[in-house]
């Protein structure tokens, strides 16, 4: 046997293209599994397209369709759709289509600003709380619980009735209320991530706490963060509309969808449908679009988790 046995030395030349264990190396998997999963997901695509259309409408629309949204024209009030006003005019004589665009701008800006602010702060807060653990974690999370115990809408109402609301002011207020959920989400994620061996490995190399958090924990928690950010955009837009609907939103001449709805309701019984349906439809469409995207991202992440 030994004489006939070729052994590894005499086993012939290596097979070209098949180095040791080369299987997966020769066929790299999709480099960006998220992007691939998103592209193949109809809901995500629908959400993204809808968001793009609404953004285009709000930001590029005014360049093509110029309207005066500052001066009151009572002579042009309550015109039904037609003529120079495709969606008619409201009680102050503002063009409804142009006002939808202006209102959308502030809604989208607010939503994105709140999402970015809360995500950045909430993520860091949650990541450090989870990484530090122990007493620091307990204190930090009790602070979150305390904030959560404050009824958000009531606080908002008090604040806006005390101070004249401005867009940055409302962004700040809404951010104060909504950084809590990303903080909790990320903390939970980090609690499971920090026991993983790659975190210990980073510590073994002498990596510092901030390095571990920023380089390893936050990128790995990015999935939940992005999903929550998407939902935050939708929530903030709804919240602003709620405030405006209650008459406590941005003061005139600022436009926003919630205020338009309130204004329209007064005249709904007069048959002025064009004052209610357009802002309602675009508001719903925006919220639905962001929720679709968030849902799809969530699913895409789940798939990724199953794969690894």
């Amino acid at each position: 046997m030994t004489a006939a046995d070729p052994g590894p030395v005499a086993a012939g030349p290596p097979v070209p293209g098949r180095p040791a264990e080369a299987g997966p190396l020769t066929a790299p998997a999709a480099r960006r599994p998220w992007a691939a999963a998103l592209a193949g997901n109809r809901r995500a695509l629908a959400g993204l397209v809808l968001i793009a259309l609404i953004a285009l409408f709000c930001f590029a629309g005014p360049l093509l369709y110029r309207t005066d949204q500052v001066t009151v024209h009572l002579d042009l009030a309550q015109l039904p759709p037609g003529g120079g006003h495709p969606l008619g005019t409201d009680a102050n004589g503002y063009d409804v289509l142009g006002r939808l665009m202006a209102g959308g701008r502030s809604s989208l800006e607010l939503g994105l600003a709140v999402a970015v602010a809360t995500t950045v702060f909430g993520t860091l807060y949650g990541a450090f709380a989870g990484y530090l653990g122990g007493i620091a974690d307990a204190l930090m999370m009790r602070a979150v619980d305390t904030f959560l115990a404050v009824p958000g809408l009531v606080l908002l109402l008090i604040m806006v009735s005390m101070f004249t609301p401005t867009l940055p002011g409302i962004v700040l207020l809404l951010s104060l209320l909504s950084w809590l959920s990303p903080a909790r989400l990320v903390r939970g994620e980090v609690l499971t991530l920090r026991t993983r061996e790659f975190v210990q490995a980073a510590r073994m190399m002498g990596g510092t706490g901030p390095r571990v958090v920023l380089r390893h924990l936050v990128p790995n928690a990015a999935g939940v963060v992005i999903v929550s950010a998407t939902f935050t955009v939708a929530d903030s837009i709804l919240m602003l509309s709620t405030l405006s609907f209650l008459g406590l939103g941005l003061p005139p001449p600022h436009a926003d969808w919630g205020t338009m709805l309130t204004g329209g309701l007064d005249f709904l019984y007069d048959g002025s449908w064009w004052l209610v349906y357009p802002p309602a439809v675009i508001l719903i469409a925006t919220v639905v679009a962001f929720n679709l995207l968030g849902d799809a991202l969530h699913d895409a992440l789940d798939v990724r988790l199953q794969r690894t």
Binding site: P19, E21, E197, F198, Q200, A201, R215
Partner: protein
């Protein structure tokens, strides 16, 4: 009379996003009552899928292809409507799954879960089903079965859970029991108990059994016949004795040769099977093993061999071998290092497909310290290490302060270039000890010194610099690499953190590391999930090497890997050690792995080091009954030896580490325990040079006038 189970041309296809995976291809075998058939092979070879296909339990997208036939007592199961198939599942054919942690519903009581199949299939009353549950739980050796009925799975230990799972499978007295890796998740000692239980039950109940396993040792002692599976097909099928002594398929030969054995010469490298099983969505045209086979010829790549041969020994190979490979087939450690030095770099040699093949013969003295009792100062020393974890809530007033004694008074030394192996069952504190050694955790008492410096007193920058000398290789290659980092970033990170070199130098070092562990340089741009388990473990080794450490602590470095890949990683560790003069602390529950790597072995039991000695000595002349029991429990890939020792080994399970037994902690499971063991804690005594053990009634005579108590540093 037809055989009890007759499987013909079983072929399972699974439709996935990547195409059709031919998971099981043309598998035929028979099974008689009272017989055990082993299904062995690497993971992904279709073993489990074969088991599931018999029951019609296919994953989404799975179908049994036309022509497949499974006959139970002459009754065709393929094509039966689901309603009728359900009367077979869990009744005539039952299954025991691998992982006792996930196979039981955590929200239902054990009694409910064991009674469930009885209720489903027998149409008896709830009370009668409960009675049956008590009966089978007793049958599988669960202590006090009636009291266990209302327990939830988390209240049972891993071994008890596996017993409960077996009880569930047995509740309806199945005629065929399919056990899918029933002991893989368990400790060797518990594994031996469960395997003995299965053998006993099979004999008493006259069941037929299909044992699916990747462990050649388990196969040897517990099967009558074996089907070796490769890439969804049967590669070889014969009686167990014949398979181990006169195998014909090169895959069987290599698979068996790559298993580390207790009796093996550690100076030899393990023979490995290079490469990975083929992608079953796109199987090769010829013999599926051809790419990894040392004997493959053009014919093998062109034409697929059919399962052929005599009725009692069938194999599918164009160039069959005859019997096992010689031990030297893997080559020597020294040769591999020499070959790497002279033969144009290890990277090239390692990536050619036969990584460990020596490129140039020649004898080189191993650059290691073979004498563990060297007079020189130890590189790493652990002195009286204690680590205790308080139990949850024990700081509250009015509650007892209960602590888990993870590590109790452990002392040992590690010399330069030496490998110290730590073995013990899970829960014995060996992982905690490893974390203490590298400074990931701080001891409550005692100290770890590296070249005379107590690493516990280091802080800040000093500690960071010292970390370079102490690195760790982790157990799970899936969680030890950050999934969001490319391999190049993973390997550069230690250099960045330590501020070593410029960006260009770091890149060069990273490329060098890849070559050193035998991975191609283009792997640097990939993410960890694009690698196989063995490749990931190589990346883990490369990362540990990046800072040129003096000591590497490897916690179960190969336990998550397949046998053939395991051998590759073990060989790589040996080669790296010889090339760099590394010292290792290897932590493993697998005595054979430790025996293969280590110069000296420490056996841990419930937080204590109960025996320390040279690897050969501990293996040949164990002094502590626990060591002897562990050695006996290791499955040996030799049918005769394995059958001879059935039922040997250690009974019982590890006691609660929060309330360790008085005196000798092992006494509750020790066959030799006497009253003195409960009263008096045994001190470490000498059993020869460098060989100590803590036992009142050792298996070998202690050396005269042993300076035990002084050495152990105990009062």
């Amino acid at each position: 009379m037809p055989p009890l189970l007759d499987v013909r041309n079983l072929t399972t296809h699974i439709r996935t996003g990547r195409g059709t995976v031919r998971a099981v291809q043309d598998v035929s075998f028979t099974l008689e009552a009272g017989e055990t058939l082993g299904l062995v092979g690497e993971s992904g070879c279709g073993k489990s899928m074969t088991g599931l296909s018999l029951l019609g339990l296919l994953p989404p997208g799975g179908t049994l292809v036309e022509g497949s036939s499974v006959r139970l007592d002459g009754r065709e199961l393929v094509g039966l409507p689901d309603r009728e198939l359900r009367t077979v599942r869990g009744n005539d054919i039952a299954m025991v799954f691998q992982d006792p942690m996930t196979s039981l519903d955590p929200t239902k009581t054990i009694g409910h879960q064991v009674a469930e199949p009885v209720l489903l299939h027998r149409g008896v009353s709830r009370a009668a089903a409960r009675e049956r549950a008590v009966e089978v739980l007793g049958l599988v050796g669960l202590p006090q079965p009636r009291r266990r009925l209302s327990d939830y799975p988390h209240q049972l230990s891993g071994g008890q859970r596996q017993r409960a799972l077996i009880a569930m499978a047995l509740a309806n007295e199945p005629r065929v029991l399919i056990a899918d890796e029933p002991t893989t998740a368990l400790d060797v000692t518990i594994q031996a108990q469960i395997l003995a239980l299965l053998a006993d039950l099979r004999a008493r109940l006259g069941m037929a059994m299909i044992l699916i396993t990747h462990d050649m040792g388990v196969t040897a002692g517990n099967t009558d016949r074996v089907n070796v599976m490769y890439a969804g097909r049967i590669a070889e099928s014969t009686g167990t004795d014949r398979l181990f002594s006169r195998m014909r398929h090169p895959y069987t030969q290599r698979l068996l040769a790559s298993v580390p054995r207790l009796t093996q010469d550690p100076a030899l490298l393990l023979p490995t099977i290079p490469g990975l099983p083929p992608d079953l969505a796109d199987p090769p045209t010829g013999c599926r093993f051809a790419d990894r086979c040392p004997y493959a010829t053009a014919r093998c790549r062109a034409e697929e061999p059919q399962l052929d041969g005599t009725a009692e020994h069938r194999f599918a190979c164009w160039h069959p071998v005859d019997g096992p490979a010689p031990a030297e087939i893997g080559g020597k450690v020294a040769d591999a290092v020499a070959g790497a030095a002279t033969g144009g770099g290890e990277g090239a040699a390692a990536t050619t497909g036969l990584a460990e093949g020596p490129a140039a013969a020649g004898t080189v003295v191993r650059p290691r310290a073979p004498e563990p009792a060297a007079a020189a100062a130890p590189l790493l020393e652990a002195r009286g290490l204690v680590r205790e974890y308080p139990l949850r809530g024990s700081w509250l007033p009015g509650r007892d302060r209960r602590v888990v004694h993870a590590v109790s008074d452990v002392s040992f030394t590690l010399a330069r270039g030496e490998t110290f192996g730590l073995v013990g069952e899970s829960g014995c504190g060996k992982t905690t000890l490893g974390r203490l050694l590298v400074g990931l955790d701080r001891p409550d008492a005692g100290a770890v010194t590296l070249e005379g410096t107590d690493i516990g007193t280091l802080r800040g920058g000093e500690l960071r610099r010292r970390r370079r000398d102490l690195q760790m290789v982790f157990q799970d290659p899936f969680s030890s690499l950050d999934p969001r980092m490319r391999v190049s970033a993973v390997l550069r990170e230690p250099l960045r953190i330590q501020g070593i070199g410029t960006a260009r130098e770091q890149r060069a070092r990273v490329a060098e590391l890849m070559a050193e562990v035998g991975l191609p340089e283009r792997g640097l741009d990939l993410f960890p999930h694009e690698f196989s388990g063995g490749q990931r473990q190589r990346v883990g080794l490369a990362r540990a090497l990046a800072l040129t450490p003096k000591v590497i602590v490897a916690d179960e470095p190969v336990s998550a890997l397949d046998v053939s890949v395991r051998a590759q990683v073990l060989n790589l560790m040996k080669r790296l050690q010889a090339a760099h003069g590394l010292s290792y602390v290897v932590i493993s529950h697998d005595l054979a792995v430790v025996r293969h790597l280590a110069d000296r072995i420490g056996v841990m039991y419930l937080g204590r080091l109960v025996e320390v000695g040279t690897a050969a000595e501990v293996h040949r002349r164990p002094a502590h009954p626990y060591t002897a029991g562990l050695l006996a429990a290791v499955p040996v890939p030799d049918p005769a030896q394995e059958r001879a020792k059935r039922g040997a080994g250690i009974g019982g399970e590890l006691p609660d580490p929060a309330a360790p037994p008085s005196g000798c902690r092992f006494r509750t499971r020790c066959p030799l325990a006497q009253e003195r063991c409960a009263r008096e804690e045994p001190a470490l005594r000498s059993f020869g040079p460098g060989h100590t053990a803590a036992c009142h009634f050792p298996l070998v005579a202690p050396a005269a006038d042993s300076p035990s108590d002084v050495a152990a540093g105990r009062p």
